[in-house]
Amino acid sequence: MAEQKYIMGNYAITRGAVEAGVRVVAGYPGTPATEILEGFTEYPHVHAQWSNNEKVALEVATGASLANVRSMAVMKHNGANVCTDMLMHLNFTGVSGGMVLVSADDPGGLSSQNEEDSRILVHTYANLPVFDPSNALEAKQMVKEAYELSEKTQMCFVLRPVMRVCHSRSDIPFEDCLEPEAAARWEDDRERYIMSAVEVRQMGGIKRPQARHRWLNQKYREIVDIFEESPFNHIEPGDGNTGLIGCGMGYTYVKEAARDFDRTYPVMKLNTLPVPERKVLSFIQGKMRVIVFEEIEPVVENLIKQLCNDHHLQVEVLGRSGFYASDGELTAQVVSDTVRRADPELRLRNEVPDIPLGIDVPVRTRTQCVGCAHRAMLYSVKRVARKYKGIVFGDIGCHDAGSFKPLELQSTIYCMGSSIPMATGAHFAGEKRPVFSIIGDSTFFHMGVNGLINAAYQNARQVIVLADNGTTAMTGFQPHAGSGVNLQGQPAHKVDIKGLGESLGVHVHTVDPYDLESTRETLGKAVEEDGVSLVVVSAPCLLTASRKGEQPFEKRRVEVDGEKCTGCMVCVNEFGCPALVFDAGGEKVHVDELSCVQCGLCAQVCLQGAIS
């Protein structure tokens, strides 16, 4: 019997790829997908890399596949957006060695800047086949199946795990691994790999894009047939004329909710795209209605509606498009409420009435960690931006919480690398106020560097604050091109940010954020400069430093002198360290000893000299 291990869903995906003999894996960190790639460090025979962005990662994986080895690209849904251009070519060319793209979704946006369904991009748009796993074990089986089918059909397959699959923990069997083939074997195939507007002689001179489009459409039909027999779709018999269709995680909530139903509905598990049309028709024929439970968007629901239309079936198809919430994460509760609304005769067993708490529960927003260098940087930027009435464009990373209360510093948070170009646009719009952007180092290498090159080239006057903490902190401390190490922890070339800035002809400054005064002075100087100023604010992420037993600051025990504290709230409103607590009763601030890390920053912030 195979050995069982209790592991995170993401590591089950890693294991599936290793068992399938994957040879090259590339990705960029993004919750909830990050640990998939980290898992490959356990398997040194696989080349695994943190690429600097997802488009690069997908291109690396495609190159490996064309060299006839099995490959994988790993990202979250935002990352799949980044690589759309490559996606819309590799779907037309097809692949050679088996290739799987993992694009993890985050229903409810628990750790993302938007809520988005990857299936629309990879299936509806790119026409690639998709597996939508219900749990970690199935995700692993799907990865292995995807490699087989990918080589059989020449198509890149997509796995779309949602957060509850990625970050589940369960017992997973470890089976034998296929030995990857010894060597890559490149074979030219220009009819496929040259995506250009050239006439295809064998097809009467139509252009290659059209020829490849025709090929893709044929492949799609072929895969519909393959999925008729897929083990990942099945029908469970039941009574009555209402059917429940569960897709991926949606299937588990259907099964969970059904434990409390006083009747057994017919259930269809539908975990592939395209959907197996004959199988779906056999399920819906004769029913009055079906309810589709799927995460994020009504993708399967719409396909089934189209199927009903094509086959003149009078079946009511209900789902995400409005019958239940069109946003947010599914739960078993959503399933039972929805089924009860569709079928008022349904009775629930074990129903527990809701008792009101009788008290408001205030929301808790995230912030930077106590002692984090980003808080110091944000505080300094805020002081300078306010003095010059600046506008601050933000970017993705832990520092984006500077845009929430209490600091409310950044005026925008969009996608990776958007800060510098947006500041550039505001500048050329004729905005008289100075423009700033704040971007982290990992985001800078991901996509921000393009914005910097453009800003330098256009001479778009602005102050760019590069928060350089040496890691990708938000997703769990992954190294990047400025870290000096690679995924495996081996030494790697470290980009010289200062030298890079100088080569672009921008003013470059470097500061230590824990020194508030000199940071402020430098930022003030940068605002006065003509052209682009790049202020590199360098201090290691406190969490990574602490793990190595290092301190980015000199420890200093602080306390508030109750006599001197006037309750002015500057430390709470303008700095916002969670270890500083305002006592509404006493109108004073005190330091919470249990959470303070003794960075001493608040002593520099206090205007009254009350913290020392």
Binding site: S111, H167, Y253, A257, I359, D360, T367, M474, N573
Partner: protein, 194 residues
């Protein structure tokens, strides 16, 4: 047999470690285990929840449905209150008497309820609950970060399903060497608090 356990707190309080210990324990006893947790942005000082489902029947959803949890461990008072609806009427909670103010409460926009108000509201919804000063105890023993281990010790005192000696052994095995001694002291202190 089934046991659904939720552990809630503020990012950074160590809910993941506690959840892992309990899962390993249940698996060693031959049960099926399925869990899920909050990772990523919310870990930075936001609300976090770990779900752990232990059963001899197939477990479908890693999320514990509303009113189905048997045990709720609250590493922070407000977070326990926020999630108390996950408990079934016969379940119990253990409240760590410890508050982390929210950004809005610190600014005076929201009011953080008093401990008394929190406990009154909890009692309205669930009959059985326990309160311990876990963070204070952990700080006395060396580091507030060991709150989670104090809570685990307390859990073994209340619920027979969780055997004191077996869980203690797992905490011992899973603790990083530099925290081992203090973690064991915290575990025992947690057991003695109730």
């Amino acid at each position: 047999m089934k046991k659904d356990i939720a552990i809630v707190g503020v990012g950074g309080q160590g809910t993941l470690f506690a959840a892992n210990v309990l899962c390993q324990y249940a698996m060693a006893r031959g049960h099926q285990v399925l869990g899920t947790e909050t990772i990523g942005a919310a870990q930075r000082g936001g609300s976090v929840i770990s779900h752990m489902r232990i059963s001899d029947q197939p477990i479908y959803s890693p999320l514990i449905p509303k009113h189905r949890a048997d045990v709720l461990l609250g590493l922070e008072a407000l977070e326990l209150l926020r999630n108390v609806k996950v408990l079934n009427p016969g379940g119990f909670y253990i409240l760590n008497r410890f508050c982390v103010p929210t950004v809005y409460s610190n600014l005076g926009i929201d009011r953080y309820p008093s401990m008394e108000e929190i406990v009154t509201a909890l009692k309205r919804v669930v009959k059985k609950g326990y309160e311990i000063p876990a963070t204070q105890k952990a700080a006395e023993l060396g580091n507030a970060q060991m709150t989670n281990v104090v809570m685990l010790g307390a859990l073994t005192k209340i619920d027979d399903f969780f055997e004191y000696s077996d869980i203690r052994k797992l905490v011992e095995e899973m603790s990083p060497p530099k925290f081992l001694k203090n973690n064991m002291a915290c575990f025992e202190a947690g057991y003695s608090l109730l």
